[in-house]
Symmetry: C2
Subunit: 500 residues, 2 copies
């Protein structure tokens, strides 16, 4: 067998095991009977470990170094070179951490996550603090082992967004910060507040599901290669080629969370449905990065779903679904209500304008923790002062402040920036798509989102992991990452809503 085919064959086994694990994870969050969960955790752990072991086996190491040898590497196609690059990088990253440290970290973070649940509920930062300290210590050690040039934080960031650094983030954040904070303040001072009460009422589950399905179809989600179910925490999961499932949550007194939640997950899902099938059993079959993944969901939810164009087409269907609620509500009122801007304490409730400010707070704090510039014991105070600086509000409790997210207690540091990057990538891609597709906005007004999806298929989805995010963006949009696309988008949209 050729060496590269051996790599494919190894990855095909890994793919199979991941597929089995993904189905088990999906089932665990959807249909598993309660008493079945205990054994399922064991089975899932076992199958995931099998996949992990295959990926880091000595055989894999030997194979990858053979493939990197000059003469052999020369004969590879571009795709094959990329496979070797991605596989080698993943291999080295895992191998950098001794199994013992890995194990300690995983035991610690799973304990810590449980402690956090109680801490958050009881507004008790003190009991989670020692866990956070230990997590930071281990992560600093891991960063050292991964290696970095300037900043240990970069070594962690790399795990979520290849090629990104704290320095680059800071450069991006600067203009965002200097524009978004005064813009938010202007909106609050001068803007007309929308009436969001019109969104409340009684909404049947059945009608909500029907609307979610309609919206998902409009944005190109293929129900023959996926399905929509209900869960407490909505998610998207790729179980295999042509099997990418989404979930949403229906609340009885609002339908917008399930509708826009479905569109959000749908954005993730069409990405996975559009991955390059020809690269199936290779390390290139997957999303480019978390930030790029998030760009697809946010583009669909916010730039499409919450746009005047899309709603011109879709709002009549909403009115038809809930005639007594919306018969007499003009489109403009609905549009303003679902694009309400209000600095909030809680990130996941934030609007498009203030969302990135939440991320900046988290980025600056987590970077300082990893660099050793901030002590865990000073974290609540630092949190509150950053919130004051960025959002102008201060939580009364740690529950509504530093304890709100599971990320840090679960050992996830370096993840938050990908949410912000998703917004920025999305705006830059959307701007390029508008250039490339004549009359895109008019098309969306007629319910044609698929023209945009085709563009995403060609330029983003079908690329898989061939390039790092920076390069992907450069090739797709012709430009380096530039936050002004996002600023232009958000300021134009919200000036129209609030200030004109």
């Amino acid at each position: 067998m050729k060496l590269i085919d051996e790599l494919r064959s190894k990855y095909s086994e890994i793919t199979y095991l991941h597929s089995a694990a993904a189905l088990m994870a999906w089932d665990m969050r959807t249909y598993i009977p309660p008493k079945g969960a205990e054994m399922r955790s064991e089975v899932l752990g076992y199958v995931s470990t099998l996949a992990f072991r295959k990926a880091v086996s000595e055989e894999m190491g030997t194979l990858l170094s053979q493939l990197a040898e000059g003469k052999i590497e020369e004969e590879l196609t571009e795709d094959e070179k990329a496979m070797v690059r991605v596989a080698t990088k993943a291999y080295k990253r895992v191998k950098a951490i001794p199994p013992d440290l890995y194990h300690r970290f995983s035991v610690l973070s799973s304990k810590s996550e449980k402690v956090w649940e109680r801490s958050r509920n009881e507004n008790d930062f003190k009991s989670i603090a020692p866990y956070l300290e230990e997590i930071i210590d281990l992560l600093r050690e891991m960063a050292r082992l991964y290696g970095y040039e300037e900043n240990p934080y970069d070594a962690l960031l790399e795990g979520y967004e290849e090629g990104m650094t704290a320095k680059k983030l800071r450069k991006i954040i600067e203009p965002l910060k200097s524009e978004l904070i005064p813009f938010t303040n202007r909106i609050l001072k001068e803007g007309r507040s929308p009436n969001t009460e019109i969104l409340r009422g009684r909404f049947s589950r059945k009608a909500q599901e029907k609307l979610s399905r309609k919206a998902l179809k409009l944005i190109g989600y293929d129900f023959k290669a996926g399905r929509l179910d209900e869960t407490v925490h909505p998610f998207t999961i790729g179980i295999g080629v042509n099997d990418v499932r989404v979930t949403t949550k229906y609340s009885p007194d609002e339908f917008t969370p399930s509708l826009f939640g479905s569109i959000h997950e749908g954005g993730h899902a069409i990405y996975e449905q559009g991955l390059p099938v020809s690269l199936r059993d290779t390390p290139l079959y997957g999303a480019c990065s978390l930030g790029i993944h998030e760009s697809q969901s946010r583009m669909m939810e916010n730039m499409v779903g919450r746009s005047m164009e899309f709603l011109s087409f879709f709002y009549p269907q909403i009115q038809k679904a809930y005639p007594s609620n919306f018969r007499d509500v003009p489109l403009g009122d609905f549009y303003r209500a679902i694009n309400n801007v209000k600095p909030s304490l809680i990130r996941i409730e934030a609007d498009e304008v203030t969302y990135n400010l939440h991320i900046m707070v988290r980025f600056e704090l987590e970077e300082a923790l990893i660099k050793g510039d901030l002590k865990v014991s000073d974290l609540p105070e630092a949190w509150n002062s950053k919130m004051k600086e960025y959002l102008g509000i201060v939580p009364q409790t740690n529950t509504d402040g530093v304890l709100q997210d599971v990320h840090w207690p679960s050992g996830t540091i370096g993840y938050f920036p990908s949410y912000m990057l998703g917004n920025l990538y999305a705006a830059q891609m959307f701007a390029k798509a508008k250039e490339d597709i004549p009359g895109l906005e008019k098309r969306i007004e007629k319910g044609d989102v698929l023209s945009l999806v085709d563009w995403l298929r060609d330029n983003i989805h079908s690329v898989g992991r061939r390039y790092e995010p920076e390069k992907l963006l450069k090739i797709a949009t012709g430009k380096e990452l530039d936050p002004s696309y996002f600023l232009n988008y958000v300021m134009e949209k919200y000036s129209k809503i609030y200030l004109i």
Copy 2:
């Protein structure tokens, strides 16, 4: 590690892989999106092969022979000895067949199954005949490799019902045949035909599901350790400890198929829910045999579900669920309608009285094929003449005759008898349970089926695979398998319905 713990550890991996495979199989028949099935087959094949390889690995072989050594075997507990016995038997059976033959057989039977679908639809025996011939040839070869004393058929039967032989079956069949055929004829000649038209109407899916759930709860099915879904072909599947799922099929114009189908699957499921958890990661965690499995479903469906006692309790709930259909139908009429006896061409539509006659037809023919006493080309004629002999009717087409079952085209020979054995085991167990539980029939009349389930838990379910079916029955009922229990049961029940 002690050798026996090594065996446990190996079986725990096999258990995990089987659990993952079972979930994938369940999902494939319930919720998988259509386009996802292609890759799923691959993943399922891969994971099943992993489990298979672990079970037949050289390491396993060495371990089992070490465990069989006198000094080590001596120190094992009874359960541990049984583990070694069951594992060794399974290991030897698989090892008896060279991988090449195994592969040929599996490719052939999966092709043949596809050809059969068309053959049956088109009443075309000729196109399936060469496949059947090759299947018989390979199975004869496999029987030779498995080894047998008198009859090559016994070597195949052993795969489904350990310890059973053609000779024993013949001895059982003799009294059944000589009683059941004249009894059926008497019913047809002298009996009052029930009005089965009362069972037809319009039945909402929702009400059917509710009734099925009620019935499942009554027979002890634990919904916290299982779930009920809808599929075209109903089945029960054990995915793990405390995760045993059932399915049923709702037809719009009859509710009895879904109700009694659910109770049937529920019987299978409470068996699996009651397996001995302490033996989880061992070869003893499983059903004793297919016949014993079938005894549990048939007892629940027929001896409980279709009994006057159960219906005295449950029929009012049926009337409440479908008032316009059954308000004016007396219990007696309903009881007679669901216990209608009528020789039919199709096995799966057969009633309790004639069902075993269908099995006898199949047993005699498949045994003759394997012994070489019957040629495939003579099969349709032989089928029709057996049908005449046993059921007094002859199919007009092979579709309604020899082509009706998937078993032979899929290479499954020796399986049919377990359906009949299930009926016989069930009657013998039920008779013993009535002896052991004071007033069991009165209890069932009050909706208390759980007393019976407790008896089954203690005497059948919790035993797992510790004993072969013959020994299990002997221990549970104190007697060898005796077909007169079934004869007494069926003749008493149906004499009352038809002849008194």
